[in-house]
């Protein structure tokens, strides 16, 4: 038995701890059924967003006044709205808008928040104080209110919604990255490369950033859900996507007026928002547990 376990130098298999680590994460993620369902749903949504519109013969803005406010049927799966537009077609077209808003606003939050957090944590002192106080101010606003304020300053459009949601994601990233940076920068190997004369740039990008990736990934996944919800909320209030656009929040808003006569007009966009947000949330939670098994109680 024991002879077989001796690590012979020539035959010893090279183990890359990073790949090994990913394998472990995947193993743990696979055990979490809810997270897997979330993950599959996300993949499904992305596929639908990209390829879905190709399989539809109707345009999302095609009206059919004769069939206005028709209930769900074989012809109109999710029914039609007050202009006779097919809600199913509009939802498929709206999928890409929703995901686009979610991803881009999180990317804005990442691109601004992560460097701010690293600078804050790495340099400390006055810069840290300045950045974190600004972040505190942003955090003091309830998310939707802040986004609302930004959109009302910039004007209502989908693009401005993305910017607004992006800005309100910044403090969350900055805080989390700052915390992780503080713990990583105290490690001795950071001192070792510093003693070798490494520039701050090299230390940050080669040694700190790779070691603070996991909390960033978790936060980004969870943030997409929040971003989708906020964007839908802003569109619902009429500050985001403007009417003919098949944006779910706007559709929900339009359907609200007919909720007693035609429940399906508001119901299906609302349901889709719930599904997308739920999928990202449970997947994000799953990733968090997989990346850091100690966090689980």
């Amino acid at each position: 038995m024991s002879e077989n376990t001796v690590n012979h130098p020539v035959t010893a298999k090279k183990v890359n701890p990073r790949i090994e680590n990913y394998k472990m994460i995947w193993k743990r993620l696979k055990k979490n059924k809810a997270a897997l369902v979330g993950g599959y749903l996300i993949v499904f949504f992305i596929v639908v967003a990209i390829f879905g519109p190709m399989f539809l013969s109707k345009s999302p803005n095609e009206t059919d006044i004769a069939n206005k406010l028709a209930g769900p049927s074989a012809e109109f799966w999710f029914g039609t709205d007050n202009f006779g537009r097919d809600i199913f077609v509009r939802i498929i077209h709206g999928m890409s808008i929703t995901l686009y808003v979610g991803f881009t606003s999180v990317v804005i939050g990442l691109v601004v928040g992560v460097p701010l957090g690293i600078i804050s944590g790495y340099y400390g002192g006055r810069i840290d104080n300045l950045i974190m106080r600004v972040m505190d101010v942003l955090l003091a606003f309830p998310g939707i209110l802040l986004a609302l304020a930004i959109v009302s300053v910039l004007g209502g459009s989908l693009q401005n919604v993305i910017i607004a949601v992006g800005i309100f994601s910044i403090p969350a990233f900055a805080r989390i990255v700052r915390g992780s940076t503080l713990s990583v920068k105290k490690l001795e190997y950071i001192d070792a490369v510093r003693a070798l004369g490494a520039t701050d740039f090299r230390i940050i990008f080669r040694h700190i950033l790779p070691n603070v990736m996991s909390p960033i990934i978790v936060q980004a996944t969870l943030r997409i859900a929040t971003a989708v919800l906020t964007a839908a909320g802003l569109s619902f209030l009429g500050l985001g996507a403007q009417p003919p656009m098949p944006e779910w929040g706007a559709m929900l808003s339009e359907g609200r007026a007919y909720i007693y006569d035609a429940w399906h007009v508001a119901f299906f966009p609302g349901m889709m928002i719930v599904f997308v947000v739920l999928a990202f949330n449970i997947f994000g939670d799953g990733i968090r547990d997989a990346l850091d098994p100690k966090m689980k109680q």
């Binding site: 701890p17 990073r18 104080n129 190997y189 001192d191 490369v193 070798l196 004369g197």
Partner: protein, 351 residues
């Protein structure tokens, strides 16, 4: 002795860490980790700094390398004041001063293979032309007692002693003149300690290295040092070459410290000096001699006057101690106080 070349000269080095407090985060006080110390390290020798935890020995090493910016003082390396250099000049200078850390598990990035760790060092300092690096890495690994084929392995595949060798190879890769060994063998078990110490000695001979060896382990220090600096609470209490210091300690603290070395002889009659109380807080160190709260010889003078490092006739080869009563204690004129009669001293000085 022949004229020795000064490699590192530390003058009046102070390292105070601010304690922030209050609503506006003002500095309310300082931890005086290192308080005005001066010493010289000559080329090719091994100087050790010993002392108990928290006496400022590691802080001294870090301040010399400017891993923490020193509060005050001059650190001259080959005549150049390191504290005056810009960050860029300092980065270039780091080629000559390297450090080996205590914890071999924390001092290597776990995501890098060994060759990447060493290559990064060469890359930062542009020490070796790109095409020769691989060869140099393999040579270095062999120099520190590892095998060529281990270059492509990850740190977790090595034992603690082997990792410490990797750390040494990394430090050597830029051809330094001075290596600060910050408790470099403390985390290793005794047999591995001996191996690494022997390796350090061989390397010193081969490359003409100078070591500043920081340790709390007197046995290790006795083995490797030429000269020894004893620190207590941020100050140097005694400095001297190994033989004078070990055979003829002059400061009461050094005496107490040396008497704590175990002797492997069951019949040896121990003349152990036991110190009472704790080390006072470096936030509010005692006035006068910092050791007076625990010193069996302390008088009122010790409570007010700061003793300077000085040498007396009976001390040779630059041996210096910071005590007011070197002669009196030596001649037996000044007797130690009997502790049994007195309550533990030293408590009153804490914050």
């Amino acid at each position: 002795m022949t004229a020795k070349k000064e490699l590192l000269k530390v003058e009046g080095l102070k390292q105070y860490f601010p304690i922030k407090g209050g609503f506006f985060g003002r500095t309310v006080n300082h931890v005086k980790a290192v308080d005005d110390i001066s010493f010289t390290v000559y080329e090719g020798e091994t100087v050790s700094i010993v002392g108990e935890s928290g006496c400022g020995k590691s802080t001294t090493g870090r301040a010399i390398l400017r891993l923490d910016e020193p509060t005050e003082g001059v650190v001259s390396f080959e005549g150049k004041d390191l504290t005056e250099l810009s960050r860029k000049e300092m980065r270039a200078m780091r080629k000559d001063l390297q450090i080996i850390f205590q914890d071999p598990y924390a001092s290597i990035n776990p995501r890098q293979i060994v060759s990447a760790v060493i290559e990064e060092a060469m890359d930062i300092q542009n020490a070796v032309p790109k095409k020769d690096r691989r060869k140099r890495i393999e040579d270095l690994l062999q120099t520190v007692g590892l095998q060529k084929f281990q270059a492509d392995r990850y740190p977790h595949e090595f034992s603690g002693g082997q990792r410490q060798r990797i750390g040494i190879a990394r430090a050597l890769s830029v051809d330094p003149k001075l290596i600060i060994c910050d408790e470099a063998v403390s985390a290793l078990d005794v047999s591995i300690q001996a191996q690494v110490l022997n390796l350090l000695e061989e390397l010193q001979e081969e490359f003409g290295l100078t070591y500043l060896f920081i340790s709390h382990d007197l046995g290790v220090v006795r083995h490797i040092s030429d000269r020894i600096i004893v620190m207590y609470l941020g100050k140097i209490v005694e400095i001297g070459d190994k033989h004078s210091l070990f055979d003829n300690p002059k400061h009461p603290y050094t005496k107490a410290l040396l008497s704590a070395i175990p002797v492997p002889d069951p019949d040896h009659k121990k003349d152990r000096i036991t110190l009472r109380g704790d080390v006072p807080s470096p936030i509010n160190p005692p006035e006068g001699c910092r050791f007076h709260t625990r010193c069996p010889f302390a008088t009122d003078k010790c409570k007010t006057d700061v003793p300077e490092l000085r040498t007396v006739d009976i001390m040779k080869d630059g041996h210096q101690a910071a005590c007011h009563y070197i002669e009196e204690i030596e001649s037996g004129e000044h007797k130690a106080k009997d502790y049994s009669a007195e309550a533990i001293v030293g408590k009153g000085q804490e914050v």
